[in-house]
């Protein structure tokens, strides 16, 4: 029976992961089955270890083996600047860029009335609580440039206003190494609007 076939079962599980379709899952499984001792068992052990150890950071919502996470514990980071991101993937992207030396706050999504995601479904209250504790000098909103991202940014700006903390958001515009003539009109217009003196 196909459905009890362990190979098909494994392919099915892998194919559910983002970025993997059935075809790439099949290729990965085939490669692993060639060397089960070297490729499969260490992977199985790593999966088990990660599932047991990794937790959400109670301060920022990051995923880490420690709670609070390594970023929140790091005394060398600027604890006065909090960068608000939609999810952990965005946090990782900013960390890869080595451009932000402050802390993070993972919102867990963006507002979407059509998707049934309201402010109470996001980590808005924990963010306000962190700011109320004091010591925060700037909140950077690093949210996607979509309708939901912009709505969430506008909403957070409004909610953060009483705290009196300066709120900034990421710039939108010309990518590094990008030629102007290949940019879409929306990005070009945003870049022109956000121009600054040199």
């Amino acid at each position: 029976m196909i459905e009890h076939d362990p190979v098909e079962h494994l392919i099915g599980l892998l194919a559910k992961l983002p970025g993997l379709g059935r075809r790439s899952a099949r290729r990965a499984v085939l490669r692993m089955l060639m060397q089960p001792e070297q490729a499969m068992l260490p992977l199985a052990a790593a999966l088990r270890d990660a599932a047991a150890a990794v937790r959400r950071c109670r301060l920022c919502g990051n995923l880490d083996a420690r709670d609070p996470c390594g970023i929140c514990r790091d005394p060398n980071r600027d604890h006065g600047v909090i960068c608000v991101v939609e999810g952990v993937a965005e946090l990782w992207a900013l960390e890869r860029a080595h451009a932000h030396r402050g802390l993070y706050h993972v919102l867990g999504g963006t507002l979407s009335a059509l998707g049934g995601i309201g402010p109470e479904d996001l980590a808005v209250q924990p963010l306000l609580a962190r700011i109320a504790e004091g010591g925060v000098e700037e909140v950077i909103l690093a949210l996607p440039a979509t309708v939901d991202g912009a709505t969430t940014a506008h909403y957070l700006t409004d909610r953060l206003k009483p705290a009196g903390v300066p709120v900034t958001r990421l710039a939108q515009g010309v990518p590094m190494g990008g030629a102007l003539d290949v940019l879409d009109e929306g990005t070009l217009a945003a870049a022109l609007k956000a121009r600054r003196a040199v």
């Binding site: 507002l111 979407s112 912009a150 709505t151 940014a153 506008h154 909403y155 409004d158 929306g186």
Partner: protein, 396 residues
Amino acid sequence: MPPLSLTRLMLRDFRSYPALTAGFHGRIVVVAGENGVGKTNLLEAISLLGPGRGLRGARILEFGLHGPEGPLPWAAAGRFRGPSGEFDIGTGTPEGGPAERRVFRLDGQPAKSQADLAERVAAVWLTPQMDRLFQDGAGDRRRFLDRLVWALEPHHAREVAAYDNAMAQRNRLLAGERREGRAPDPAWLAALEDAMARHGVAAAAARRGLVGRLNAALEGGITGAFPAARLSLHCAVAAALDQAPALAVEDGLRAGWAAERGRDAAAGATLSGPHRADLGFTHVPKSLPAALCSTGEQKALLVAVVLAHAALIEQTRGFAPLLLLDEVAAHLDAPRREALFGALAALPAQAFLTGTDPAIFAPLRGWRRCSAPCPGRSFRMAIFPCRKPPESLYYG
């Protein structure tokens, strides 16, 4: 510069076509045949090679040929010759993927977005369904205008979609208040109204700009012997842009929507904004609004607008769109048909015409037989259905 032209079309399990390969080596292609042979399906397939939902605005599940277990996976692929050389565009349901998804390929590679296609291909069309444009609600005329804007400004579709999205969310929040008696978060509503203001003003400005340019082109006699039309945009936001800068109009909209939340909640809809815009047509020689014109005159007005639009695209983007004119000639009297064929000959655009009676396209055949009105341009005629091999599809 060579006009954008479709030189080959391949279909698989699309609508009534199990398989089709057709070459179009001409600038005016006539598809003539009886009702139900698949003339409009062919035009629809061509329209799907550009961005959007095609000339019928159909759902993806409707495109597949119906097999015993429902719609089959379908594909449409076109080879184009344009100002930048030859390129291929393909679309259809993904191999082994869900039937309700549609993917695009540009030169065999997955296209990142429909905007990538919009940079290479543009198509404008007239269908018999659009004859009702003057009788139907403002929404159809607005969508007609938006499609015209989109062909010139690919970014416009995003502005309209973002505005509609934010408005749908605002309506949902306000409906929640009505249903559950729970007041929606005012900061959330303000954030959505901010998005509506930014995207709505951008969309209204683009519509206003296009109407102005089309009127200038029509007044300049760009449609030749075709009767001139004049367009008017009925939109409070566009009118406000005549009086104030865009940022001030945005502020006004935000304040207005904030004040109208109670009224809109009771109505279950947002009652003001650029989504209420309407497009008016006037028959200039008669100084009559389109709604009071005869069916033939209304058709002539639409044709004039579409031709002017094609000329604008050519001026702006360097290539004219494909013109897909479904059953257009049949509604026109002989002098207007001559005017249409003359205008098509003057435009550097490839046109696809359908009709049930090949005889009404006779003037085109005449042009081909005698020396072409424009040097180097030839006219071809295709008759469908065709049992002969594709290369002998044409006569002229």
